[in-house]
């Protein structure tokens, strides 16, 4: 199971805290906006693109990464501990 809590929406920035339980995933979604991910744990995030290709992303606490708008994927936690990160979207 995955849960997303919207912490902030200023109209120009939106911040969501995501938590994914072991075995859980954020279902297929498309990123309409450029975004930054700030990991809150050390973990491996499995990203499954809409075309079926996969990548394992190594998350490290506080080591951020950015992605452009347009990504369309599922993100899964195949580990044994809960996985958490904060997503910041640039809305406009």
């Amino acid at each position: 199971m995955a849960t997303g809590e919207t912490q902030i929406d200023t109209g120009s920035l939106r911040v969501t805290r995501w938590e994914i339980e072991p075995g859980g995933a954020i279902p297929l979604h498309r990123h309409e906006h450029e975004y930054v991910v700030v990991p809150l744990v050390d973990a491996t995030l499995h990203v499954v693109e809409a075309d079926g290709s996969e990548a394992a992303v190594e998350l490290r606490v506080g080591r951020s990464y950015a992605r452009p708008a347009g990504a369309r994927h599922t993100v899964a936690n195949r580990g044994s501990a809960p996985l958490a990160f904060v997503e910041i979207e640039r809305l406009s």
Copy 2:
């Protein structure tokens, strides 16, 4: 002492990881852009405004907050442990 590491600059978003040692501070600065802070530790951040007024901000891991452009302040760590957070600025 305080150190800031620019992790990302996409031209529209800039991400900086800040670490402030006990007794250290980020010197007086003005925020030219709207920004979000994602705390990486539980701690108290002392914010000293340019007019001398002070506020104690309780940081909790992953509990983000946003501020508009225009703030002008010093931020200090008066605790006994290093303090770390990620700042995301909306550049344009």
